[in-house]
């Protein structure tokens, strides 16, 4: 009985039609199964799928559900990291193809965790999701001061600056960056997005950011929307 049941559960990815494979890949990203995502990605490419479609429909689509359940407290950081790892496995196959295709990015984003803060899990996830959505992302890393942010967005010709903070003690530094942008006369040249666990809409408005992004999926939506209207 047990063997029969186990056999029923076994899924051969290559035997699934496209729509079911996509659905299965969403489940596999949710469950953090990196080898299965790499396999699924390769199968779709072998079937003639465009790399950007695989990225958007199979990977970003799967990761969006993870972001929503993380936001709603259904998934926690370890699960999100496993999912991120799975998405990376697919991205590593797609990235060289996408780079070689010379597709123009839909926008350029600079992201980083603010000065005094070394937490980067959320920031990395946002960067990856933005990249998946077609943005060119420059990740400055952690503990970033105001002038480093501003110099980078200018040098990269970015449209969006994304700042992250996990600590209530470091989130006020976002205002320092925005004030510094004003001092240097460049505030209105860029879209400023902020995110991080202790932040909220009210804080974002108070410091003069353009938008607060509650999770990575929302960051992508907001970035697309603002770039389109910029």
């Amino acid at each position: 009985m047990t063997d029969e049941y186990e056999n029923d559960e076994e899924i051969i990815l290559s035997e699934l039609p496209d729509d079911e494979l996509i659905e299965q890949m969403h489940d596999d990203i949710y469950d953090g199964l990196a080898p299965e995502i790499a396999e699924g990605t390769q199968i779709l490419l072998d079937r003639g799928w465009d790399a950007s479609d695989v990225l958007e429909k199979a990977l970003v689509g799967g990761m969006a559900a993870v972001g929503v359940d993380f936001r709603d407290g259904i998934l926690f950081v370890p699960e999100v990291l496993m999912s991120t790892n799975a998405m990376k496995a697919g991205m590593s196959i797609l990235k060289p193809i996408l780079s070689a295709s010379g597709t123009k990015p839909i926008g350029k984003v600079v992201v980083g965790t603010v000065k005094g803060d070394i937490h980067d899990i959320g920031k990395n996830l946002v960067g990856m999701m933005l990249e998946g959505a077609g943005f060119e992302v420059t990740d400055l890393g952690v503990n970033i001061d105001a002038d480093t942010y501003i110099d980078a967005i200018q040098e990269k010709g970015a449209t969006i600056l994304g700042m992250s903070a996990l600590l209530t003690t470091t989130m006020p530094y976002m205002k320092v960056v925005i004030d510094r942008m004003k001092e240097r006369g460049v505030r209105d040249d860029f879209i400023v997005l902020v995110g991080g666990a202790p932040l909220n809409e009210e804080f974002s408005e108070a410091i003069g950011a353009d938008a607060y992004c509650r999770d990575a999926a929302i960051a992508v939506e907001v970035a697309k929307e603002l770039v389109a209207t910029a």
Binding site: G73, P78, L81, D117, H119, V142, T168, A197, P198
Partner: protein, 207 residues
């Protein structure tokens, strides 16, 4: 119980609170603690505190909350404002255990500092290793701790056993170890204004 103060506290600081109460003979204080696991789930702290406040409403002369902001991003303060309740000032327990000024010095010296208290040192395996699922997914250790440079043990007690454990935890995480003795004085100092100076015992009683 109208002559008493109820302190709703994080379970991770229960030992220190009981010690401070005994030391200062604060017999007018009762403690009720929330699960220390909330340390890893700060988004759940405001609702848990709210539920406890509402279940105890009217039973005590005053309620005080022994949490700092603790990663709630102001959400705990919103709950407390609704009920006119004070909490320990500061961002988190590391700050009130160390004293704000001293903690700022430590943080500025190295942003990549991972802090342990007595409680977290004792329960490191449960709250850090199992709590973050590093036991099941060992590769997550580097994802979580990649940017950390040192583990700072903020000690409430002068225990060689705990120091040895904290050093071992630093090794486990691959971090430089530093010891910083705090004792109970900084926490005692921030509690006094609310629990003693602000307390008016009913007529005929003295504290």
């Amino acid at each position: 119980m109208q002559d008493k103060i109820l302190v709703i506290a994080c379970g991770a600081i229960a030992g220190e609170l009981v010690h401070i109460k005994k030391l200062n003979q604060w017999d007018h204080i009762d403690f009720q603690c929330l699960p220390p696991e909330l340390h890893n789930r700060p988004d759940q702290i405001p609702l848990a505190v709210k539920a406890k406040v509402e279940s105890e409403a009217g039973l005590y002369g005053k309620i005080f909350v022994a949490y700092a902001d603790c990663g709630t991003g102001g959400a705990l303060d919103k709950v407390l404002e609704e009920h006119g309740i004070e909490r320990i000032p500061g961002a988190h327990c590391y700050e009130f255990f160390t004293g704000s000024e001293q903690f700022q010095t430590l943080s500025e010296a190295e942003a990549g500092s991972f802090y342990l208290t007595d409680f977290l040192t004792r329960h490191f395996e449960r709250l850090v290793i199992r709590g973050l699922k590093i036991d099941r997914l060992p590769h997550l250790k580097s994802v979580y701790f990649n940017n950390y440079k040192r583990l700072v043990y903020l000690a409430q007690s002068d225990s060689e056993k705990l120091q040895a454990m904290a050093r071992q935890h630093a090794d486990t995480l691959g971090l430089k170890y530093e010891y910083h003795y705090c004792g109970s004085e900084p926490l005692s100092r921030v509690l006094k204004p609310a629990l003693v100076q602000g307390y008016r015992p009913p007529t005929g009683q003295a504290h």
